[in-house]
């Protein structure tokens, strides 16, 4: 675990106010934390003896069925709720003695309903905490613009607007910007994407992951959606009714080795497929592919492929882009490899494609191996269904690599990843658009 180098140093509002980049992340520890709401006749605990440690810079997702105490847990960390037992430490220091308002100014807070102040402009909303911390106006202004750009909003267009004039997705972004305003080392997010449609949610999730790669905050994230938990979390805490911790583990381990029937049921029967979402094509070693340059004699390709004389050659153009599959059986060595006679080069996989998407594409292609291409469309090798199932086996062996680590071959670009299969669909039966065909 990434033990925090800044451990033991208390975060304070003045720190956050004067040196916003001094600390990037805080550790959070919950020790035997319980909460009983006084007015509950049945005496049931909302949170029961919870132990969690979140290392600096990690995203910890609290997930579980409705009413299991996720929100209560989160709100104990910024002291909107006081625990009935146990203690909570931030950067090793107990928060119980801290002044609540000062504590909260050092912790970003995002809720599902966003809670933007309707009577204030977007700029005023984002600068709430910097203003509380007494930042001068010029610095606040600069920070607001920086933050809006960071969350993908155009300052020129949005600064002066009111929350009611934004879409739900834009409001969520402003909510995130507002939470980040004073560069807090810890963010609490309570179902931050719960109120938007699945497409916007997926995009916001992707953007938060990108942001998190840049910022490296410690994040406590609440959701009741296990897919979101697996996607967003370095660590996932599965809670169950009565506020107990059912399992606390990285997503891959949670899926590979659920600690109980409850966890197994909660993560769902498609565990194996979910595990595939945690891994990407770039992590596999692709099998080598027999290449033939379009227009050159078939024999040259055969020779390059070596022994075994494969039935199919992958045609590339002179720039090295994959342009088609050529069935070379029965073709004489001196026949030029003809693009017109080739099948389209599908399915194409990027290193960033998740194994789940890759498997789906391969199943669609009726067993044809997938061509892994780099950013420029040049083939890197082949991936088969068997290779993917084998990869699933070694997830069993260890907890698996961190999902959000960018795969070799570049940072994961979600839009490129999602667009790739779409682009192929649109051009079914033809080589991918933008790939020049020699002589075509």
């Amino acid at each position: 675990m990434a033990e925090n180098t800044l451990r033991g140093r208390a975060l304070s509002a003045t720190d956050a106010g004067t040196s916003p980049r001094a600390r990037r992340a805080a550790t959070v520890a919950l020790e035997h934390v319980s909460k009983r709401f006084g007015d509950r006749a049945d005496g049931q605990l909302a949170v029961d003896d919870l132990d969690l440690f979140v290392p600096a810079g990690a995203t910890c997702v609290l997930v579980g069925p409705s009413g299991c105490g996720k929100t209560t847990t989160l709100r104990m960390v910024n002291r909107l709720i006081e625990p009935s037992g146990g203690r909570i430490l931030i950067d090793g220091a107990p928060i119980a003695g801290r002044d609540p308002t000062e504590l909260r100014r050092g912790i970003g807070y995002v809720i599902q309903q966003v809670g933007l102040f309707p009577h204030q402009t977007i700029a005023e909303n984002v600068e709430v905490v910097p203003r509380l911390l007494g930042w001068p106006a010029a610095r606040r202004r600069e920070r607001v613009e920086e933050l809006l750009r960071l969350v993908g909003l155009d300052p020129a267009r949005h600064l002066r607007r009111y929350p009611a004039e934004l879409s739900g997705g834009e409001r969520q972004r402003v909510g995130v910007a507002r939470a980040l305003a004073a560069d807090p080392p810890l963010l609490l997010m309570d179902e931050p994407f719960g109120a938007v449609d699945p497409i916007v949610r997926a995009r916001l999730q992707e953007e938060l992951l990108r942001l998190q790669r840049e910022l490296g905050k410690t994040i406590l994230f609440v959701t009741h959606d296990i897919d979101e938990a697996i996607r967003m979390g370095d660590l996932v805490a599965v809670m169950r009714q009565g506020g107990t911790l059912a399992q606390f583990a990285p997503p891959a381990e949670l899926l590979a080795r659920p600690a109980s029937d409850f966890v197994a049921r909660f993560v769902g029967t498609d565990r194996a497929l979910k595990r595939l979402t945690l891994r990407r094509v770039g992590e596999l070693t692709p099998a080598s592919v027999p290449l033939a340059v379009a227009g050159e004699p078939v024999g040259a390709g055969r020779a390059r492929a070596g022994s075994g004389a494969p039935g199919r050659l992958l045609l590339v153009d002179r720039e090295g882009h994959a342009v088609g599959w050529l069935d070379a059986r029965g073709l004489p060595d001196d026949r030029p490899a003809d693009v017109a006679a080739a099948q389209p080069p599908t399915p194409l996989l990027q290193p960033e494609t998740t194994l789940r998407d890759a498997l789906s594409l391969l199943l669609d292609a009726a067993g044809s191996p997938g061509i892994v291409v780099d950013g420029a469309g040049r083939p890197m090798g082949l991936v088969t269904v068997e290779a993917i199932t084998a990869a699933l086996q070694d997830v069993d062996g260890d907890a698996g690599p961190d999902t959000r680590q960018a795969p070799p071959g570049g940072p994961s670009d979600p839009s490129a990843r999602r667009d790739a299969p779409g682009a192929m669909d649109g051009d079914r039966g033809r080589p991918a658009a933008g790939t020049p065909l020699p002589g075509g």
Binding site: N78, I111, G115, F117, A164
Partner: protein, 239 residues
């Protein structure tokens, strides 16, 4: 029709526009006394309503005061206050009526201040607290601006009621437009009575209109923005 002519003639008589019993003087007396009553009531009712709304504690108090205020007619209050004023050797033509008007103005302002604060979305308040606003900052920066329209409505109700009811002041020998009605009644001068009643009605309407303007000026911007969103934004020819 004859009465209408008499009333118009009454208004047309220049003698009725000057002196201590002239229309400008009486209107001014009426406005001064009403304004003072509403101001005193506001300084009592608003802080209490805001505090109860903000903390959520003491809601029953607000309810009881409001109900009491509705149950007690101002005239009865006035009659109760006159002997008290006499006992305290206060000027009984001024203090009892002012006291009754203050008590009349408190309930609408108190209940509206309370209800306006309570109506602010609890999620907003939680978000504000979660960001580190203190209780007072939550009240002043979030709850109060958002509750302003409801609070102004309370003041508007109170002011219109007071302007209409201050007419009673004349019963105890006070000034204001009630004098025309009371004296007109005493001298059987119907035109004078009707003119007085008309002036009271006009002043009440003017008060209502003035507070309407205040409401527009003090409404939080974002709420106006929400309304302006309703027609498709930027549609040409919409104007």
């Amino acid at each position: 029709m004859e009465l209408l002519a008499q009333v118009l003639a009454w208004f047309g008589d220049p003698a009725h526009w000057q002196g201590t019993d002239g229309i400008p003087t009486r209107v001014l007396e009426h406005v001064e006394a009403s304004g003072l009553s509403v101001l005193v009531a506001a300084t009592l009712a608003l802080p209490l309503g805001l505090a109860v709304g903000h903390t959520g504690r003491g809601a029953f108090l607000v309810g009881s005061i409001a109900n009491l205020g509705r149950a007690l007619p101002s005239f009865a209050l006035l009659l109760m206050l006159i002997p008290i004023a006499v006992n305290l050797r206060l000027d009984f033509s001024t203090w009892p009526i002012l006291g009754a008007m203050v008590l009349l103005a408190i309930p609408p302002m108190l209940t509206n201040a309370y209800a306006g604060i309570r109506a602010v979305d609890r999620d907003l308040v939680e978000a504000a607290r979660g960001m580190g606003l203190s209780g007072l900052q939550v009240l002043l920066r979030l709850e109060l601006p958002l509750a302003t329209p409801v609070i102004v409505t309370g003041a508007r109700l109170a002011a219109v009621q007071v302007v209409a009811t201050y007419t009673l002041g004349a019963v105890a020998g006070g000034g204001g437009l009630g004098r025309y009605i009371y004296d007109g009644f005493a001298t059987q001068d119907t035109a004078r009575m009707v003119a007085g009643a008309t002036l009271v009605a006009l002043l009440a309407i003017a008060t209502d209109v003035a507070f309407g303007g205040v409401a527009r000026l003090t409404a939080p911007r974002g709420a106006t923005a929400r309304r302006s969103l309703a027609p498709p934004a930027g549609e040409p020819g919409a104007a």
